[in-house]
Structures are given as C-alpha cells and as structure tokens.
C-alpha cells in the first residue's frame, strides 16, 4: 500500500526564478516525514513537486528525478493525472467541494473512474470517513453540504476524500495551520493512525508538531531572500531536535532565527 520516494537532484522553477535547488532525499514508506524551515524556503513547493501539482502553477517547471518505488514521476509517458491519483494531497485550508454533499465529497475521487455500485461506494465512503475519525460526527448527515462542517471537520473530510482513492502516499501541506488547537490535536492523532497504511509527508510551521507526529524531519533553508531554497539536512526526528549535525538547524530549532 505504501511506497517509498527517492528524490535526486531536483530543481523547481517559477518561470525563470529557481525556487528550490538540488534536492535529494528518501522518504521511507509507512512513516511520517516532516518538512520544516523558514517561510519561503521552498518546502511547500518541494511538496508539490512530489505529486506534480507544482506544474499546475503558471510557469511552474521541474528538473530532476522523483522515483516512486523506482518509477520516475517525471519520466516520459507518465500521466500526471495518474501520479496525483497515486499520491494524494491535503491542503493548507480545508477545501471540500462547496456544491457537493459530505458523501459526494468523499466519493468524488472514486466517481471519476466511472461506474461504481452504490453499495460499493457506501462501503468506501464509510471506511474512509472512519479512517479519518469523522464517521461518528457525520454519519447522520451525509447528504448535507460539506461546507457546513467546522474547520477541523472539513479538514478531516478532505483527508477522508484523499484516502478514499487508496493512494500510496499522502502529502499534507500545513494541514493544521488554519485550525484551532483541539482540531489540530485531532488531526495529529489521525496522522499517527494513518501512517500504519500510508507514506505521509507533512509540511509544518510548527516545530512542536513536527516533533510530535514525525519519524523523520527534513530542514530546509535559503541563503537569502530571492535565493533558491535548499535541503539542509534530513534525519531521525529525535536527532534533529536533540543533536542536529548542522549548526543552522540548531539555530532554527532553538529559535535563533526564522
């Protein structure tokens, strides 16, 4: 179910501006990898290169290799649509489809692939909502619009929608930054459960969060504003937060900058 990602020599551009430079790393399957770093260091851009969402941005362009269990996402003949189906994504702000019910939101990805039996669909929706710890809260109002839920519930609905298509990898771009502390806690618990089944990559601004939820942490930084962001180091989370091998990491974590 979960696959490993190997990135090597990756550059990403916005037009002629280089946003990230020469990134190589490995994301282990069935674990949580957190990306931390100051604003503008390119961690979100990098995350979006992992499921080819970067090229959706006008002018977005990528060089280098991203291997998913050995298959290059940017190889010739690769269909970005299939890539995004295999590697799901949860965004910073909860974005359920406003015109769809809760049920249809979760089923949206499945319906793309044509005909499903109603019972099959019911099963998948229930399973996904349970997987996102949302089932008990919404089971009586599946036909109500998803936009009627609270922010935290909406974000879990988006997670349910993402896992309903059974992706190999789940990317999360600051999933808790728009949420209150209690909702954040619920999502963090959920991430802990989901890593049993998926490879998870999470971008976060909150270092405590990175320390709480992740197994490995990658620190990104940029030399100066306007310069491309770089990967400084990636290691076991415990090690990054207690005894990082690069001085800049320690400075950042101890709050000396950023």
């Amino acid at each position: 179910m979960a696959k490993r990602i190997d990135v090597s020599g990756l550059n990403a551009f916005y037009g002629s501006h280089k946003a990230i430079e020469d990134i190589s790393m490995t994301v282990e399957p069935r674990s949580v990898t957190a990306f931390i770093g100051p604003s503008g260091c390119g961690k979100s851009t990098f995350l979006r290169t992992l499921n080819r969402m970067h090229e959706v941005t006008p002018g977005g362009r990528v060089e280098g290799k991203v291997l998913l269990d050995g298959d290059d996402l940017y190889g010739s003949g690769v269909d970005p649509v299939n890539v995004r189906r295999t590697i799901g994504m949860v965004f910073q702000r909860p974005n359920p489809f406003p015109t769809m019910s809760i049920f249809d939101n979760v089923a949206a990805g499945l319906k793309l692939n044509g005909s499903y039996k109603k019972s099959e669909l019911n099963d998948v929706v229930e399973k996904s909502l349970k997987g996102a710890n949302l089932w008990n809260e919404v089971k009586d109002r599946l036909n109500k619009p998803g936009s009627g839920l609270s922010g935290g519930q909406q974000q879990r609905l988006c997670i349910a929608r993402a896992i309903a298509v059974e992706p190999q990898v789940l990317l999360m771009d600051e999933p808790c930054s728009a949420l209150d502390p209690i909702s954040t806690l619920a999502i963090e618990d959920l991430i802990g459960e989901l890593k049993e089944r998926f490879t998870i990559v999470i971008v976060t601004h909150n270092m405590q969060q990175a320390a709480r939820v992740s197994d490995r942490t990658a620190f990104f930084n940029l030399a100066a504003v306007g310069q491309p962001g770089k990967l400084i180091e990636i290691d076991e989370t415990e090690r990054i937060f207690s005894n990082p091998s690069v001085q800049a990491t320690e400075d950042y974590i101890s709050g000396r900058f950023g």
Partner: protein, 341 residues
C-alpha cells in the same frame, strides 16, 4: 417616495451605534455642514432622478399604450394582423402582437441556443485553456466584438452573412426538412434563423464576459482539490468550475436574452418582415417587437405610433422581468459565495 428615515442603516465599519434622531443620522452620514448637506442632497437627488426616469418610462408608455388599446378592435394578444390604420377593417384599428411574440421568442431562442454553448466555451478557453499570454488579447477581442454597433452588424449580416447561408439552409432542408421547422423554399435567407444567428454573435460578448468573470472567481483551492484527486482538466472543470459557476452562467444567459429580445436595427436590417407566423425558421418572414417598431414607424400615423408604443410597452415589461431576474440571481449568488470562507 420617502427616503430611508424609518429604516436604520445596516451596521457598517464606519458607524457602530445606531443613530436615532435626525441630527445623529446626518452626523453619521457626515452631513452636518451646509456644504455636506448640499452635496448629499445633490447626489441623492440624482439617484432619485434615475428612479423617476424609470417610473416615467413605464408611466408614459402605459399612458400612450392605453390610448391605442382603447380603440383597438382586435385582441391585442391574439390578433395576427397589424393594421392600426384599419385599411382592411373599414377604418377601424385592428392589431395584435401574436406574430411579434412568436418571432421574438423564436429568434431569441435560436440566438441563445447558439450563443450560450459557444460563450461558455470561449469563457473556459480564456479562463482555463488558453496559453496565459493569449488570454488577455482574446478577452480584448471579445470586448471589441461588443463594441461594434448593431447597425454595422446589421449591414454585415444582410450583405455578407445572409448570401452565404443559402447553401447551409438547402442542406438543412435536405436532411431535416421533414420536421417542418427546417423547410426552406429558396430565396433570400432573411429569416428568423438568420436573425437568430446574427443575434447569437451579438450577445456572445456579454455572456462570455459574465461567465468568464465567474469562472475566474472559482477559488484555486477547489480546483486543486480536484486535481489532487487525479482529475483531468475537463474533470476539474466539471467538478469544481461549472458547479461554482452555474448561477453565473444562468444570469449571463438571461442578460444575453435581454439584449436579444430588444435588439432593433440589426434585426430590421436583416429580416424580410412579413406579418405572418411561419412554421419554418428558414423561410423569410415573421417579425420581432423591436424590428416591427423600427420598420413601421416612418409610415405610421400618430395613432399608429401609439399602437407601436403599446407593443413597445410589452417589450419593456418582458426585458424588465428578464433582466431583473438575472440581477437577482447574481445578487443571491454573491450572498452565499462567501459562506464557506
């Protein structure tokens, strides 16, 4: 009309306390000084003048129409003739709008049927398909299309488009003539179909522009949500863009319909009018409200003009309803589009 003194203004970012006395209300508007009072009076007066003009349009048209209708021997709604001078009725006026209702509706439906899909296509092209560098020039070209005066459309329609349509119409007659709707006897193709095609081109810009606005307003995050699920570009549009823009498309189409219903000179130039209802949309003949007024006006007596005004009143009411409905849809949409912030 009494000005909003009994209704407290809704709370805004400027005034928090609800003013109660007239002085406080004036203070809340920043109108305590003489200069301010004059300026407020002037600007509010202009708004009222605008409303009065609208009321006057309705009142004067209704008054002249009533003059005409009082003497009409025919049934205004169901008579198939337009004979206010009573040439065929012993000098008694005999006229009705049945033919005009038919012609106006048919030509507008044809125009909408052609223009709406094309306009949605172009709007999507500008908002989602065109290379970014092309999008702005294309939007500009569409604006140019809107700036061309209707008389020029009429001239072009009559002298360039219509002669080119004979082939298409005979072909339609060959294959669909059996329906009766597409029968074509030959001759100059100055029919309701030609009018519909021309109107479609003329209302294309307004439908395109309003739809494009709405499509561009679709929050990026909804589109990304669909993309991240592995949707193709078309599926993104179907899942997030079209549902979001549906009410916008409807109101855009109604604005276009309003234009098509009231278009005068282009129709008068292209159509060979004939005061009959023709089952076939390809054969010449028929008429629309606005075209009928323009064509009959110069030969009409004063009473004849009143009769034309009566038909104009009907057109006024219809376009008022269509436009009003379109605006209400837009306004309602604005209210709930911010709901899921």
């Amino acid at each position: 009309m009494d000005i909003p003194t009994d209704t407290p203004p809704p709370p805004s970012h400027v005034e928090d306390a609800k003013p109660t006395t007239p002085e406080q209300k004036r203070a809340a508007r920043g109108a305590t000084r003489p200069g301010d009072r004059i300026f407020l009076g002037l600007s509010r007066g202009s708004g009222i003048v605008l409303l009065l003009i609208m009321a006057a349009v309705a009142a004067f048209l209704a008054y002249r129409a009533s003059v005409a209708l009082a003497d009409n021997e025919g049934n205004f709604l169901t008579t198939f003739e337009w004979d206010p001078a009573g040439v065929a009725h012993d000098g008694k006026p005999y006229f009705g709008i049945a033919v005009l209702v038919f012609g106006t509706i048919v030509s507008s439906i044809i125009a909408l049927a052609i223009a709406v899909p094309v306009a949605i296509g172009i709007a999507l092209f500008i908002s989602h398909y065109a290379p970014r560098k092309l999008a702005a020039p294309i939007a500009y070209v569409i604006d140019l299309l809107a700036a061309v005066p209707s008389i020029v459309y009429g001239l072009w329609g009559a002298l360039v488009v219509a002669p080119n349509l004979t082939g298409l119409y005979s072909w339609l007659d060959d294959y669909f003539g059996w329906t009766g709707v597409f029968e074509y006897e030959g001759g100059a193709p100055r029919s309701l179909m030609t009018v519909g095609i021309l109107l479609a081109i003329m209302i294309l810009p307004i439908i395109t522009n309003v739809s494009r606005e709405v499509f561009l307003q679709v929050p990026k995050m909804h589109e990304e949500a669909a993309l991240a699920l592995g949707a193709t570009r078309w599926e993104v549009i179907r899942m997030s863009v079209l549902p979001f823009g549906r009410s916008g498309i409807i109101s855009a189409s109604m604005l276009g319909l309003g234009r098509a219903l009231g278009e005068t000179i282009a129709v008068a130039t292209v159509l060979s009018p004939n005061f009959v209802i023709n089952a076939s949309v390809l054969d010449y003949g028929g008429g629309t409200f606005a075209q009928n007024i323009a064509s009959k006006f110069s030969e009409a007596s004063e009473y004849g003009r009143d009769a034309l005004i009566a038909s104009g009143l009907v057109l006024f009411v219809i376009t008022l309803l269509v436009n009003g409905a379109a605006r209400l849809i837009i306004a309602r949409r604005k209210e709930y589009s911010g709901a899921n912030a």
